[in-house]
């Protein structure tokens, strides 16, 4: 067990427990926020696991999650818009903390991978993860209400 896997375990355990607690209790707005947080907690953990096992191909999972996670959140934001009409969920502190976690994992993985194609892939994942997280949070907070027509 090396430091990468230990860090991934901490990210999975801490983030997963927080997400589970948030998604099972409280009003719908909080649940959707927690569901969005699941993506930003597990994606860095997958990156760290890929480094820990020494298998660069495992990075594909993080790439797919960074792509599809925000899509899932937007599906919920669109289809649950009736429940969200009264309250506009926003937790920008949490959002930026999650984005910082993703950034830290991407930077660490980049430093370990060194320059090359692998580093470009990691940077793409980082950009997708943080942009998706911010866009989903903004959609939940009602920033795109006029555009979405919800």
């Amino acid at each position: 067990m090396n430091g990468w896997i230990l860090a991934a375990t901490l990210a999975l355990g801490g983030g997963g427990a927080a997400v589970l607690w948030g998604v099972t209790t409280g009003p719908p707005a909080r649940r959707i926020l927690a569901q969005n947080l699941a993506t930003s907690a597990v994606c860095p953990a997958l990156l760290l696991l890929s480094q820990g096992y020494g298998r660069p191909s495992y990075v594909d999972l993080a790439l797919l999650l960074a792509l599809l996670g925000p899509v899932g959140t937007l599906v919920f934001a669109r289809l649950l818009s009736d429940d969200l009409a009264g309250e506009r969920p926003s937790a920008w502190g949490l959002t930026w903390t999650a984005a910082g976690l993703g950034l830290a994992a991407v930077v660490a993985a980049c430093a370990a991978a060194g320059p090359g194609r692998a580093m470009v892939k990691l940077l793409v994942i980082g950009v997708l993860l943080i942009a998706g997280n911010v866009i989903a949070s903004r959609a939940l907070a009602g920033g795109f209400r006029r555009v979405g027509g919800g």
Binding site: I5, A45, L49, Y53
Partner: protein, 86 residues
């Protein structure tokens, strides 16, 4: 010690699955189910089966919740229009 990550992910998966069953509202169940899909993909990765994890991620995080939410919406609408007629 090396199995700690497997134990943590397994516990998380079990807790998520139990939580998904104990929720009453289908929409809330779909939310927990999408979290379960993501955690299950992490479990498959930890168990060195990333190919299974990839398909689980695609199906579990976006597709299954979308299908459930669409059917919940449709049934709610049908229920509402039936109430209006009566």
């Amino acid at each position: 010690m090396a199995d700690a990550v497997i134990v943590v992910t397994l516990l998380l998966t079990a807790a998520c699955a139990t939580a998904a069953v104990t929720q009453r509202d289908p929409a809330r169940q779909a939310l927990v189910l999408s979290v379960l899909g993501v955690v299950l993909a992490a479990l498959f990765t930890v168990l060195q089966a990333p190919d299974v994890g990839l398909s689980q991620l695609a199906v579990g995080s976006a597709l299954t919740p979308l299908l459930i939410m669409l059917s919940v919406r449709k049934t709610r609408r049908r229920g509402r229009s039936k109430e209006d007629r009566e």
